[in-house]
Symmetry: C2
């Protein structure tokens, strides 16, 4: 397909946006769009500048025979903070408080535009970490893990609290649920994670930390390494002994059921 330069740039940008963290040789583009490799180089230089000036991401050029370009998505501090502040407002809405002091989050975690932005912010924190997989626990963590994995371009693995026939052989661990007085089991399909993986754990709402500890012990069973933990909202009101460093997008410092009031600030991702 022969395209004009301006059209070619649009199409190459689209390709890079859809294939983050992937090395693509310039020849691939040169052949596909019937252009000289030097012209493709010039296109890439313009795209790189545009991506960087608008904080879409950066493009690295790897030289040599097996060289090419790699696109890494990024997000500017300002944009990330604006997104987080909007989410603080949404999370503070008084009608989110459910009996028992729980907060209704499902609408936020099932809106693609929000998920994509949250995925970009969390992935940006761990962009240098060479992550092989994103792990979460079913069900509410799944869209979040999906969003982060999408930006990092790696698979996600879903830990379950129940046994499902369609998962095949599983490995299980015990974990302390809720206020640590109940011991429960969580399961991970043996096929779903390769040994020696570097894993980022993602979850929607952090309270006691029992679920995260459970996932961390599953990682040990799979001879894999915990690279980091990121949560959508951290309930800092909850008591816990922090075994891990958590990165949080939002901080829920108070859930006042009596006065129907939730106090939310931006999380520790924005501290520094």
């Amino acid at each position: 397909m022969k395209l004009r330069r301006s059209e070619r740039m649009v199409v190459i940008s689209n390709y890079l946006l859809n294939n983050p963290y992937t090395l693509t040789g310039l020849n691939t583009f040169a052949e596909k769009y019937e252009a000289a490799k030097s012209s493709i180089s010039e296109d890439i230089a313009i795209i790189k500048k545009a991506f960087e000036e608008s904080s879409i991401g950066h493009i690295e050029t790897v030289t040599g025979a097996s060289g090419g370009v790699i696109f890494t998505p990024t997000i500017s501090k300002d944009e990330a903070r604006t997104i987080a502040e909007e989410l603080c407002d949404r999370l503070s809405e008084s009608d989110r408080i459910l009996p028992g002091g729980y907060i209704y989050l499902s609408d936020l975690l099932s809106t693609p535009s929000i998920l994509n932005n949250v995925g970009r912010i969390i992935a940006n924190v761990f962009q240098g970490e060479k992550i092989d997989a994103v792990m979460t626990v079913a069900t509410k963590g799944v869209p979040l893990a999906n969003a982060v994995a999408n930006v990092l371009n790696v698979p996600f693995v879903i830990v379950r609290r129940d046994l499902k026939i369609t998962e095949g052989s599983t490995v299980s661990v015990n974990y302390a649920s809720g206020s640590s007085d109940r011991i429960e089991k969580m399961f991970l399909s043996k096929r779903s994670l390769k040994p020696n993986s570097r894993v980022l754990i993602v979850d929607d709402f952090l309270k006691g930390g029992g679920t995260i500890n459970g996932m961390a012990s599953l990682l040990t069973e799979f001879d894999s390494t915990l690279v980091g933990v990121a949560v959508f909202a951290d309930n800092t009101q909850a008591e816990r002994d922090d075994k891990f460093a958590y990165k949080s997008l939002l901080n829920v410092s108070e859930i006042d059921v009596k006065n129907n009031k939730v106090t939310v600030e931006v999380g520790n991702i924005f501290q520094d």
Copy 2:
């Protein structure tokens, strides 16, 4: 931010790709990139041509005071078929057969590049249908619903087979599970779907159709309309009375446990 034309085009394409099915006024771009509206118009014309020539999608221009442009993602028949054929090969791998004649799918449904492509193909089938939400059942349907909802830029709703405190008030229906001899319950949070929504149901693996029938009766409870049903894989070996027209990406015509062989073809999306 003032950009050169070529850079501006890269940045505007990125915006459109991230905001499908959304009307954006040309003034938004003109102000943001300090350019004349007529220049933005010319940029859009080039982007439109590039998007259409490479089947990325089409751009519609709405004229008038409240006018602007709307990007609708598409996929070419050839690209869709190539993707489906690759998935046929993956699904036919003999080590996917689990005891009981189930097929292990979780690895495919947790790889972002696959999910994005599948989302594009399914969304493309329903692009003219004015869909308000995508519905699925936890857990395996979630990434698929997320992928389709992402392309259509609408929220997705997750039906559950268990009751969760964090969902608030729910509506429940009975459905016939498995070979129709067991009646079970499924639940949907009252907050998660607005009345009078037009809904696309998405699921990973279609056997007897009981789960889909259950979701369809939930839609009635929410005064909402079923626009269509799309599944990743249709097990045509299973007996069922088809109440709905299903669109399938893949067709599993035989699971031969004895000889460890799965027969898979492209689904009825490609029939016509």
